[in-house]
């Protein structure tokens, strides 16, 4: 679908926080469906095109610096406890990363208590120096305490910000500022040994929204997430009442086979989609340019490509 969205980024003529000299940009690809590892397994080494191609048409909403080459590869879901990769898939991904010379990262969701044991088993398969994207404070505690040789990254679910693609104007967005620069937030991440923050680029965002965070920042592209639930419409497909649309049930991972794409009628908003329990918006050209500006100014040091 062609999208000419109304939420365009606010220009940043004179950022109050001066640019930092940009270091080498890190480039990651985040895969949720472990079956797609088969595609990557063909590569003796990975290039930026190998990371961009799986995005299909959406790759046009990614602008990378000329020197950006793959440095990281991630496997797992930020949004669903039923999508923890199998141990075989983790082993395969770790081996691929060793072959390619990139760092492996396991992506983890908000956890229910029954997820912790499988998660511990999965984390034990990671090599020293591997990354863990944490989206749950409890998981962060476990990583710090039991897996001190892994490097936790705060995921998008911990970096709260308003991301409603339906907002009528930038004024609405300004009413709900984020707290990413707050001293206690920084201190809490430090105390948990978290050394990096992964964020979205929100509707009505600007390049300098990442300035002054005083933490290495990665940005997901070309999709941001709007909302995620624990109730899953698609994951209820094979369930009967009263199990449908309630937490705590196994699903058949229907979200890996189907998604929904669309918009609100009569609007020219960002293209929106829903996969499983999560709603996403696709970046627009202006947002892509703003992320590139943030990279050029040294406010963003990693781009993580992922689908919706």
């Amino acid at each position: 679908m062609t999208s000419t969205p109304t939420p365009t980024p606010t220009p940043t003529p004179t950022p109050s926080i001066p640019p930092k000299p940009p270091g080498p940009i890190e480039l990651g690809f985040a895969l949720v469906d472990e079956r797609e590892l088969a595609v990557f397994a063909h590569h003796e080494r990975v290039t930026r095109d190998d990371y961009l191609d799986p995005l299909g048409d959406a790759r046009q909403y990614v602008t990378l610096p000329d020197d950006a080459e793959p440095t990281h590869f991630f496997l797992g879901s930020e949004f669903c406890e039923h999508l923890l990769p199998s141990l075989e898939a983790i082993d395969r991904a770790v081996a691929l990363c060793e072959r390619w010379g990139v760092t492996f990262g396991l992506v983890t969701p908000i956890a229910c208590d029954s997820l912790f044991e499988p998660l511990r088993t999965a984390l034990a398969r990671l090599p020293a120096g591997g990354e863990v994207t944490v989206n749950d404070w409890g998981v962060a505690r476990v990583v710090q305490r039991e897996f001190p040789d892994l490097r936790p990254v705060a995921g998008r679910l911990l970096g709260k910000m308003l991301k409603d693609p339906r907002l009528p104007s930038a004024t609405w967005a300004r009413m709900y500022p984020n707290g990413l620069r707050a001293g206690p937030f920084r201190e809490i991440l430090d105390n948990l040994g978290i050394g990096r923050l992964e964020l979205d680029f929100p509707p009505f965002g600007a390049a300098d929204m990442y300035a002054g965070i005083d933490f290495p920042v990665g940005v997901r592209a070309p999709y941001g997430y709007i909302a995620k639930g624990r109730i899953c419409k698609l994951g209820s497909l094979a369930l009967d009442v009263p199990e449908k649309f309630s937490p705590g049930h196994q699903c058949r991972r229907e979200c890996l086979g189907f998604s929904e794409v669309g918009a609100r009628p009569g609007t020219r908003e960002l293209q929106t989609s829903q996969r499983g329990n999560t709603m996403y918006y696709r970046h627009a050209p202006g947002m892509t340019a703003a992320i590139a500006e943030a990279v050029a100014n040294g406010w963003v040091s990693r781009i993580v490509l992922s689908g919706a």
Partner: protein
């Protein structure tokens, strides 16, 4: 087990406490806040707040006189760093007039209140999406005394957390107002209805796509569309049966009455009734509903009898039979659900 009820005016204190609530929660937007930040965003709700500090003081005095506690919501999902000092001042003022606890989601604010207003208990809001033991321990370490679990947890999960952490008070949802997404991971605003309302019931027109990018096969599409019809029906229940009330005046909406015996047995400290923005009558009726079930539990009635009573209270058991009105549907067997639909 205590009943925690919402209030938005001092006049609601007495009827709610008389109906059985022992804990009340409320919000306030001080005029200084609006002047300073040009927004009313002290908490999650634009409406349903008390009308200033004088009302807040009246609420605390009236509630304490009736042996009830008062909690203040400072529960935005996130605050800007420029807000934190002002929020700490609001919390300190609340404590100075005798307020009992602040309900907070933002971790920076939790840390700041624990350090600067240590006499004020901190209740971790459901908006913080704390739903496992390790996460609860994290918030306890930050200074929390109570964890308000998010809506979409199972009774087994609630019980495990309550049993594992007896030093923390655990509060769980029991009635009214259901989010579709998890509150703490829904980064939207409830727009005015003429601009779309909550995103989960906004008028999106979606088309299914298979992983290949093509339209799904016809057979799959039929199953998906049938599932969509079920989902729409569930949404209707999730939003208070189309924002209506039962013929006898009791509220519809997500309900956990049948799970109360199990929560009571697990040592859950409080059950939460949502809906600060609701009408006073709805709040009172909600407390009556929950109190009737709690009374039977405390009188030692068997769990099956309590559940039978809970299903009959609204005098329309067919809605319970739908299976879509429950916060904790796993507490009822298929046979039980079917029996509600049959005439006595």
């Amino acid at each position: 087990m205590k009943i925690t009820a919402p209030i938005s005016t001092p006049a609601e204190v007495e009827p709610l406490v008389r109906a059985g609530a022992r804990e009340l929660y409320c919000g306030v937007v001080p005029p200084e806040w609006v002047r300073r930040f040009n927004t009313s965003g002290v908490n999650r709700r634009v409406f349903g707040n008390l009308n200033g500090y004088a009302d807040l003081e009246r609420v605390v005095d009236n509630a304490h006189a009736l042996d009830a506690e008062v909690f203040l919501v400072l529960n935005a999902q996130q605050y800007g760093e420029q807000h934190l000092d002002a929020l700490t001042e609001i919390a300190a003022h609340f404590r100075s007039i005798g307020g009992n606890a602040a309900i907070v989601a933002d971790i920076s604010l939790i840390a700041l209140l624990a350090a600067n207003v240590p006499q004020l208990a901190i209740h971790v809001s459901s908006v913080a999406t704390c739903r496992n033991v390790e996460s609860a321990r994290f918030f306890a370490q930050l200074g929390a005394r109570r964890i308000i679990l998010p809506r979409d947890v199972t009774v087994a999960e609630i019980s495990a957390i309550a049993t594992e952490l007896p030093e923390l008070d655990i509060e769980a949802f029991v009635l009214n107002d259901g989010c579709v997404f998890e509150e703490g991971t829904c980064h939207t605003v409830h727009l005015p209805m003429n601009k779309g309302g909550p995103i989960c019931i906004d008028n999106y027109e979606f088309e299914y796509r298979a992983a290949s990018g093509e339209a799904p096969a016809q057979r799959a599409l039929r199953r998906l569309e049938k599932n969509d019809q079920d989902y729409k029906r569930w949404l209707w229940y999730r939003f208070g049966n189309g924002f209506s009330v039962a013929p006898n005046g009791y509220p519809w909406g997500p309900c956990g009455l049948c799970a109360m015996p199990a929560m009571h047995a697990a040592g859950v400290h409080s059950v939460k009734i949502a809906g600060r923005e609701g009408a006073s009558e709805r709040k009172v009726k909600s407390v009556e509903l929950v109190h009737e079930v709690l009374r039977r539990i405390e009188d030692g009635e068997p769990e099956t009898k309590v559940r039978e009573c809970a299903v009959g209270l609204r005098d329309a058991p067919s809605h319970c039979a739908s299976g879509y009105m429950c916060y904790y549907p796993e507490k009822r067997s298929r046979q039980e659900v079917a029996s509600y639909a049959e005439p006595a």
